[in-house]
Point group: C2
DNA sequence: TTAATATATTCGCATACTTGAATATATTAA
DNA sequence: TTAATATATTCAAGTATGCGAATATATTAA
């Protein structure tokens, strides 16, 4: 298989792993800081089980990694820049939604962008 | 639904649409220029039917658009910058593969990056 | 008109993903 | 030890995706 095809396959695998509404949001939650399962679940108003499932999948694909401390499992992005990359991807979303939603995108971007950047 | 969730959903939809090895490659083929189905099929060594199916899906999701001229259907990226964004995404792939493959990523990036940028 | 070319659409099956519910495990508190 | 907390894993059913083969449509050439 030619190298371009190999790389495309790997990249598409990464894209596939993050292309779920919950997972996009989880990645943004982890922008610049680690968080435990419950904290994420509360922030996104989803069950801890579901968050755990998503994190388990993303860990298997090395998008996130885990640090255990007592009964808390803290997750962080293996490559913190991926969150910035996703924020850049919002640019493509802007032109795709209604004017009303476009305003929401800007506010979402502001919110996400406002989180302290990870070293 | 809060705005962040809406935006995340839309973005994940875009990601999902492009997260297929063939489709990543098609987008890169369309970087900076329109091409017809057969041209793409030959370049990627895939059947025209398959390329047509991918393009049809991406068109439905407004990733690409079509211009018909005679019996040729030329496709182009609705948002040409998406190709650049994908090239940036290669950065995340580099750390994920073996050293040998990492070299291939660089060459792939060089190849893709060498294509003239669309205005 | 007929044939050839270029592409699209439909079909069907195999595979994969999503998700809540139930169950299991690890850690700390009583 | 026992109970409570935090998270993980398994299961099963519903849904979606991928893909080749067959068929259909549009355009141009003969």
């Amino acid at each position: 298989m030619p190298s371009r095809a190999i790389v495309a396959k790997e990249l598409s695998q990464v894209l596939k792993t993050i292309s779920h509404p919950d997972r996009v949001r989880i990645i943004e939650e982890l922008r610049g800081q680690e968080k435990d399962v419950n904290t994420i679940a509360e922030a996104l108003e989803l069950t801890a089980t579901r968050i755990s499932q998503h994190l388990s999948l993303m860990k298997a694909h090395r998008i996130v990694d885990e640090r255990r401390e007592g009964r808390h499992h803290y997750y962080h992005l293996v490559q913190p820049e991926i969150a910035d990359w996703i924020v850049n991807g919002l640019a493509f979303v802007e032109g795709r939604m209604s004017a009303v939603s476009a305003a929401e995108i800007k506010s979402a971007r502001k919110l996400w962008g406002a989180v302290p950047v990870q070293k």
